[in-house]
Symmetry: C2
Subunit: 300 residues, 2 copies
């Protein structure tokens, strides 16, 4: 599909646009007179260009006044079209939410939103839009923690849906923003049970679709090694936690009846017996984006 | 962190709320008189409950009129608070974007947005919000495709950022909504080069943060086996594609200087020589959510 072609379509602020870009409104200035045309041909919204011949409008440059915004947005679009620009990115902060309907009316679409702002986009060319879509996945982690007595760390969640109410299960959770996968697993175990662990391997991952808000879900099963044994639960989230004999865990009805969970447990047991190899995490620098990131891979 | 505690916090419509819920406005009805109080104590927004004692407002039940919406939203929040409800989900379609500032004013926050709508949330209890965050990741794929002459399939992208302009690289891309990882890799190779392939293994994955819109990125390296050899490029995306001798690929300046890429290539070569084991994908049913999903794991 056209909107997923390029890999490096992240939106990066680069240099200010070289084309005419006169700032018509100071930061936070409210242009109060709605019936006065304040937009001249030379007045455009402040903007930066991205790496794809697109335009990123400076959210601080938006007038508070609706009519002024409608005028300057229209002029800016005309100008950018003449200059052959492609995608236009418009971030509108929460305090200026009244401008959103105006942008939508001029052909912008919602792209994504976060606490505090909404991002809208406009595709200028008369060809299919190739702007990247917003994020598509949430990332979950599950932790298999077994002690030297072959007991598995299990919990009963307080806030789980009815179908798993009162059920013993592995500690799980969603990773936080910008959190590493293995750190998320270690944190969830610590939060839910008080047990300290170290990361061994990602032994498997599951990919599910249409989970939350029609988005997808990647769930990484992490094998962790316990460093402590004393359980101390988070009472706001967890009903109960304990070390359960592996045989008892394998015999739980939910485990017995669930092929996916059985496969995951078999893998974890094989790993425990040194008969399986998952992926470890190695911190590496890439020249491509000058970032230190983790590469997860098997043993070479 | 509190907002990532539970694993199963997907929002599912369940049964209509059992508490009083009289529909005051028909679908699409515009309540035109802004100065008339049309909200009685018994008039609340249509809503459903979720599995976490939360409330999901029916987007079709929102009045178009701003004052009417402000009144009924306020009454509904009072009622839901009395009933001990927790999170409130409010989806506002694009055509009613004028209601967004009203909801924000009453304490709602942006949660996420997609083409056509914005989702807002409100946390009623006097305790930290535990509503799940929106999706946090985009998922990329890269394909290592080597033929029997030890030639690697490489491309030069047309729309890449300046820093990789004119550079030979592996075919890459973002997966589509609800697309399987290996299918995304097969599709990208087919789109960019015309080469048909089958999936062998996910040999590694990289986790990068603060990539697009401050979101994270998981990039899965897939080993694919070519089924055809005749290259036929997508001229809108690709400048050039060819089979490049492995030795030549290894000697490319960008490859030589990039530790991460060198590691990935070493893994792929080891896999080609049957000296490495990555993760294959197995389609399985889970009783937990009655879904057929793919579990990626090594050889047991």
């Amino acid at each position: 599909m056209k909107n997923s072609g390029g890999r490096q379509k992240s939106i990066l602020l680069s240099k200010p646009l070289l084309f005419s870009c006169i700032r018509p409104y100071g930061k936070g200035v409210d242009v109060a007179a709605p019936d006065t045309s304040i937009t001249r041909a030379s007045e455009l919204l402040d903007a930066y260009e991205d790496e794809y011949n697109g335009v990123i409008i400076d959210p601080q440059s938006l007038p508070d006044n609706a009519n002024a915004f409608a005028d300057v947005l229209q002029s800016s679009l005309v100008s950018w079209k003449l200059e052959g620009k492609k995608g236009v990115w418009l971030k509108i902060l929460e305090q200026q939410a009244g401008l959103v309907p105006i942008a939508l009316k001029q052909g912008f679409s919602y792209h994504h939103a976060e606490k505090g702002y909404v991002m809208l986009t406009y595709w200028i060319p008369d060809e299919p839009c190739v702007l990247p879509s917003t994020s598509t996945h949430q990332i979950g982690v599950g932790a298999f923690v077994m002690n030297e007595n072959k007991e598995v760390l299990v919990v009963i969640e307080k806030k789980c849906p009815l179908r798993c109410s009162g059920m013993w299960k592995l500690p799980t959770g969603l990773i936080n923003k910008s959190e590493e996968i293995f750190n998320g697993a270690i944190r969830e175990v610590k939060e839910e049970t008080g047990i300290e662990t170290t990361f061994l391997e990602v032994v498997a991952f599951r990919h599910a679709h249409q989970v939350a808000f029609d988005k997808s879900d990647l769930f990484f099963v992490c094998m962790l090694k316990p460093l402590t044994l004393q359980i101390n639960i988070d009472e706001s989230e967890i009903e109960e936690a304990k070390w359960m004999a592996l045989e008892e865990f394998l015999g739980l009805p939910f485990h017995r009846d669930d092929k996916l969970l059985r496969r995951i447990t078999s893998i974890c047991i094989a790993k425990y017996q040194n008969k399986y190899q998952g992926f470890t995490a190695q911190c590496m620098m890439s020249k491509f984006d000058d970032r230190l990131t983790y590469l997860y891979h098997g043993c070479l």
